[in-house]
C-alpha cells in the first residue's frame, strides 16, 4: 500500500481548494506498479556501490541497464570500471531510476531506488535472456556486446523506495515488485494527455464535475494519465484545484485507453443529465 509520509509541497504552496463533494473513488497505481513502470521506461540509471577505497564509502556511477521479465535490471559492466571493482568486493547495491528531467523542481520528478545485490549471471539461457534484455534497451551496445572485458550482472531486488514527486512515496518489497506490471499507458501517456487537452477539454470538465468532487469546475487539464485514471488540474470560481477521475476497468493497451476515455465521457454526461432529469420530472 502506498503510504504518504511526507508532503513537502504542503508545507509551502497554497493548498489546493477543497472539493464541494466527495470525489468518486479512483484507484492509483501501487508503489510496485509505479516502480515497474519507471524501471521499464528508462534505460539508464545510477548505481550505488561500496567503494574499495576508502572502504565502504558510498560510490555512485552512471549505469545503462535492461530489464528481465520479473523486473530485475540487467547490467553490462566493464572489468575496468570502479563499480565493477566495488561489486566484486561487496555485491550490495542500489539502482536509482528517475523520470526524464523536466523543467521545474527536480524533486517533483518520479523516481525509484531499487536495493539489492548485483550478482553474476551464469547459464546459457540466463545469459541469452540478459543479452537480449540489455540490447533491447541499449541498441548502441551492439557494437561491443560480444567483446572483451564486459560482463552481465543482474540486480536481485530485495526492496525498493519509490517517490512519486512531492507527497507520495512508499517502501515496497521484492515480491510485490516482481508481481507488478509496468503501466501499459505510460508509453502513450504523453500523446494521450496532449490529445485530451487539445480536443476534449469539455469532457475533462464534465468528468471533474461528475466524479472529481468539483461540480463548479470551469476548466480541466489532464496532468497525468495511467491505467487506472486521470489526474486533473482544475479551474473553479473558488480557485485552482486538483482531482482524479478513475476508469471503470484498468486500461490494458492503447486501444482500451481510448475506450476508457469514451466510457468516462459517457458516464460524465449521464451523471450530468441525471439530476437535470430529476429536476425536470
Amino acid at each position: 500500500m502506498t503510504v504518504t509520509d511526507h508532503d513537502a509541497r504542503g508545507a509551502y504552496a497554497s493548498p489546493p481548494i477543497e472539493p464541494l463533494q466527495a470525489p468518486a473513488p479512483a484507484a492509483r497505481p501501487s508503489a510496485a506498479e509505479e516502480a515497474r513502470t519507471l524501471v521499464a521506461g528508462a534505460t539508464r540509471g545510477t548505481l550505488g556501490t561500496l567503494a574499495t577505497h576508502p572502504p565502504g564509502h558510498p560510490f555512485v556511477s552512471v549505469t545503462p541497464y535492461g530489464v528481465l521479465g520479473d523486473g530485475s535490471p540487467v547490467l553490462f559492466i566493464s572489468g575496468m570500471a570502479e563499480h565493477t571493482r566495488n561489486l566484486d568486493a561487496d555485491s550490495r547495491a542500489s539502482l536509482l531510476v528517475a523520470e526524464s528531467e523536466v523543467p521545474g523542481d527536480p524533486l517533483a520528478v518520479g523516481r525509484v531506488t531499487l536495493l539489492g545485490r548485483v550478482e553474476p549471471i551464469d547459464g546459457e539461457v540466463e545469459l541469452a535472456e540478459a543479452r537480449a534484455a540489455y540490447l533491447a534497451a541499449n541498441p548502441d551496445a551492439a557494437g561491443y556486446i560480444d567483446f572483451g572485458d564486459f560482463s552481465f550482472r543482474r540486480l536481485d531486488v530485495d526492496r525498493l523506495r519509490w517517490v512519486g514527486g512531492f507527497g507520495r512515496m512508499a517502501w515496497c518489497e521484492a515480491t510485490a515488485y516482481a508481481g507488478a506490471e509496468p503501466d501499459p499507458v505510460r508509453p502513450i501517456a504523453s500523446d494521450a494527455i496532449g490529445h485530451l487537452n487539445a480536443d476534449h477539454s469539455d469532457a475533462l470538465v464534465a468528468a471533474a464535475r461528475a466524479f472529481g468532487g468539483h461540480p463548479d469546475a470551469t476548466d480541466a487539464r489532464a496532468e497525468r494519465i495511467d491505467r487506472y485514471g486521470i489526474d486533473l488540474a482544475l479551474e473553479t470560481p473558488r480557485g485552482t484545484a486538483a482531482t482524479r477521475v478513475g476508469f471503470t476497468t484498468p486500461v490494458t493497451d492503447a486501444g482500451s485507453l481510448r475506450a476508457a476515455c469514451i466510457d468516462l465521457a459517457k458516464r460524465s454526461r449521464e451523471s450530468a443529465r441525471a439530476p437535470q432529469e430529476v429536476f425536470d420530472g
Copy 2:
C-alpha cells in the same frame, strides 16, 4: 594528471586513422577542471549514502544542489527524506553529476563522482552563502527555502572520480578540485560549436591540416570546445579521423574565445602559406 586507464571504445569501434604528421601539442582541461566544469554546469545530481536499514547498504537518491566558491556542493534536504536519515547516522556520501543526457550511448556522457562527507552548515555567514548558492541554482526552491524541516548541508569533497566519456578518466584529490576553475567556455560551447560548424568549416579544415596532423583533411567539424582548444572530427581521403587543435593562450570568457578562434585561423593560414612561399622562393 589525467591518466587514461581504460578505452572501451578502442575495443570495438573502428580505430580512427593515424595522423600523417605529429599534431601540434594541444593542452586539455585537467580532471579537476573537468570536474569543476561538470559540477558548475548542472543543478541536480545523484547522492549516494549508506542506508540505515539494511545498515550500510548503498542508497541512491535524487539531489538538487548549488555550488560554493570552492566547488563544494550545497544540499538542501528534508528531515523526512531517506538520505537525510542516512546522513545523520553516517555522513559518508558521494555525489554523481553527469552531463545532460544526449542521444547515443550513455557511457559517452561526461560525469564525475565526488566522494566526501555531508556536514551541517553552521554560522550566519556560511548559511547565507549556502542559501544564495542553492537559490542561484534552484530558483524554484524560493517558495520553500525558509520553511520547516529542510536544512542546508555541504559536501566536503575528499576526492573524485572523473570520467570523460569513453577512454578518459582519472582520480583527483580535493585540493586540485578546490583550486580548479569551471571552464568559462562551457556555457557558450554549444553555441560556439554551432557557429564554427555552420560558418567556419574552412577555418577548421585549415587548422586540422596545419596543427592537427592531418594535412589531407577535406572536412572538419568541431565536436567539443573548451578553454584550451577544439576537438575535431575529420574527413580525409584515407577515412575519418579525430584530432585536437589548441589555442595559444587559454580562453577566459566569450570575448576571448572569439579572439582565440580568429588567432587559430590566422596561424593556420600562415602555416599553410609558409611551405608554399618556401617552394615558390
